[in-house]
């Protein structure tokens, strides 16, 4: 079970780094 929750945490971290990338793209796309 420990591995499952560490994987979940890692998945959340990756998704959140993805959000940083997405926000950065939105900022870069401004006129």
């Amino acid at each position: 079970m420990d591995a499952v929750f560490l994987l979940i945490t890692a998945g959340l971290a990756v998704a959140t780094f993805g959000l940083i990338w997405l926000c950065n793209s939105l900022l870069g796309a401004k006129p």
Binding site: M1, D2, F5, T9, I20, C23, N24, L26, L27, K30
Partner: protein, 601 residues
């Protein structure tokens, strides 16, 4: 409502507003690196930077700031998770607590790192002293400091002109902790200890009961499972109880920061309804004040840092305008109680047949209905979540108030830092709405509000709504979710909605009727807390980066003044309309239908 109750609530609010002002000015000086009355801590601050290899003058872009914040918090989650899993092998565990289960460890680690402090467990029956101090109390400090750091970065976004940097996360985190949270916590902890809050490393005490009693204890088989009788019910046996275990521990130090940092995770399971957490009316007053003071003071900090105190006062006024009627609704509902019961009892009480009764169901009986309602409203307006009464036992409308306060996004005072940055996202939205309605230029504090800022503000407002509503929908559909709803019908739905409203807005309080310490709820609520914290902080930091890179636009005839009562009304309306449109349908299935059922008998 009684005159006495109203006076107590009014006095609490006045003391809050008066004491928030000097604290707010002090915090602005701390964040701007100006001289203040704690100069001797400067040496310690710089020693910490040297130790950590941080250049305090080094500016971060919003991306660097966000990554630093995220990595720091992920390491915190990992540390608290591991600490719980191995607490049985570590010192300072006089009650010999076993390792916490993986799902509860995950939930608690995310809960404390995100400043939520949802507790699916009972503190005194689960956590060792070391876990409480090194894991939970440390996170109480740093999660609060991280929220304040994100707010300060956003404020810099408004004040800076064509800049790439929004400050340094490590500096903001250190200053928040060293100059603000630690001194205030120390003062409050000493005040609490003086009133009788426990602070000790001694093991739990055992008392011999003056009046021994008997309980029905479930019979457990050799496999550790309950033995069932021929009807399938658990078999029980009589057990004489002659002793009581009295839980103690280093509570005062944790309670001080849990209130000041709007964390809320209690040392004891019943939080501040426990006499060792909240022993006197003075501690009750101080703890309520501590819950609200930093979020309120940050409004003054905001005004001071942007160089226009009126702007901060307008935001604080909006919070007060929203807070007071909801407090009155909660207090009024609880004072009135169930009108059908009152209709039966009142004539008998008037005739002297029965004593007059008040609606004390679930209340903190030592401090009365007014102080129970004040705490319930304050703890859910700020994203604190500690309780001194049982929200689960409130009347439907009395329980609706704390639930809706959370659902409004925890922006009415809100969490330390997170409340004000949430309110600033609403302010950006309000300026944008005003621009659409009356043709005003969308500007806020001299910065043009463009598509990027509106998209980021929308994310900040929509993410928690999505988390709460989707989470609730999944829980009431999934068998694992339904299995732990112990009350049928609308009330059971209210309990699930409350749980996801609490986790999805980083509050942490609970309707205790839901059995939430299960694999399903620990995981689902853990995910909700994570998204509600970091998926808001990151758009806020992106907005800060975007704003910092812009020029300052001088006010023109097309600029909407944002320090006036008109803007307070506009901002209040936007908060209410978003909250109402998003959550009234769900509330109609829970507390509103319960209220109608109660009135209909």
């Amino acid at each position: 409502m009684t005159t006495n109750g109203v006076l107590q609530l009014g006095l609490s609010l006045v003391v809050l507003l008066v004491s928030a002002w000097p604290l707010g000015i002090f915090m602005a000086r701390v964040y701007e690196g100006q001289p203040h009355f704690l100069p001797w801590l400067k040496g310690l601050e710089h020693a910490l930077y040297r130790l950590a290899g941080v250049d305090p003058a080094g500016e971060m872009t919003w991306r660097q700031y966000a990554i630093a914040m995220l990595v720091f918090n992920l390491l915190g989650i990992l540390a608290v998770y591991c600490l719980q899993r191995v607490q049985h092998l570590l010192p300072l565990n006089p009650a010999a607590m076993p390792a916490v289960t993986p799902d509860s460890s995950f939930n608690t680690a995310v809960s404390f790192a995100t400043n939520t402090n949802w507790q699916g467990y009972g503190g005194e029956a689960t956590m060792s002293y070391l876990t409480q101090m090194l894991g939970l109390t440390v996170q109480n400090f740093v999660s609060a400091a991280a929220g304040m750091a994100v707010l300060v970065a956003l404020i810099r976004g408004f004040t800076r002109k064509q800049a790439a940097g929004i400050g340094n996360f490590w500096v903001d985190l250190t200053r928040s902790t060293l100059y603000i949270l630690l001194p205030l916590s120390l003062m409050l902890a000493i005040a609490l200890v003086s009133q009788g809050v426990v602070q000790t490393f001694n093991p739990y005490s055992t008392a011999t009961l003056l009046d021994p009693t008997e309980i029905d204890e479930p019979v457990v088989g050799s496999d550790g499972k309950p033995v069932l009788d021929e009807k399938g019910q658990p078999k029980t046996q009589k057990k004489a109880v002659t002793e009581q275990t009295i839980a103690v521990g280093p509570a005062a130090s944790q309670i001080a920061i849990k209130q000041l940092g709007t964390n809320g995770g209690g040392f004891f399971n019943v939080n501040s309804a426990h006499p060792f957490e909240n022993p006197t009316p003075l501690t009750n007053f101080l703890e309520v004040l501590a819950i609200l003071i930093i979020p309120a003071a940050l409004c003054f900090t905001f005004g001071e840092m942007i160089g226009d105190r009126r702007q901060g006062i307008a935001l604080l006024a909006t919070m007060v305008v929203l807070f007071v009627p909801l407090l009155a609704l909660c207090y009024g509902s609880e004072q009135a109680g169930n009108p059908r019961l009152a209709a039966i009892v009142a004539p008998q009480a008037a005739a002297g047949e029965v004593p007059a009764i008040e609606n004390m169901e679930g209340k903190e009986v030592r401090y009365g209905i007014a102080n129970s309602a004040l705490w319930a409203t304050a703890t859910t307006a700020a994203s604190n979540g500690s309780v001194n009464s049982m929200h689960d036992s409130f009347t439907p409308l009395g329980g609706l108030v704390p639930m809706w306060l959370m659902q409004l996004g925890e922006v009415i005072f809100g969490g330390v830092g997170s409340g004000l940055y949430g309110m600033l996202a609403f302010a950006v939205k309000a300026v944008f709405v005003a621009g659409l309605m009356v043709g005003r230029t969308p500007e806020y504090l001299g910065k043009k509000i463009e598509a990027v800022e509106v998209k980021m503000a929308s994310l900040v407002i929509l993410v928690p709504c999505a988390v709460v509503l989707i989470g609730t929908a999944v829980a009431v559909l999934a068998p694992q979710g339904k299995a732990m709803i112990f009350n049928p019908g609308a009330y059971g739905f209210s309990e699930v909605l409350y749980a996801f409203s609490s986790a999805g807005n980083n509050n942490g309080s609970a309707f205790a009727g839901l059995g939430a310490n299960t694999l399903f709820y620990n995981t689902a609520l853990g995910l909700a807390m994570f998204f509600a914290r970091y998926w808001l902080a990151i758009p806020i930091l992106a907005m800060a980066g975007s704003l910092a890179s812009k020029k300052l636009v001088p006010p023109s005839s097309g600029t909407l003044p944002t320090h006036t009562p008109l803007f307070v009304v506009l901002l209040t309306s936007v908060v209410i309309i978003v909250g109402a449109l998003t959550f009234i349908p769900a509330l109609a299935l829970g507390p509103i239908v319960e209220q109608l059922q109660m009135l209909g008998g």
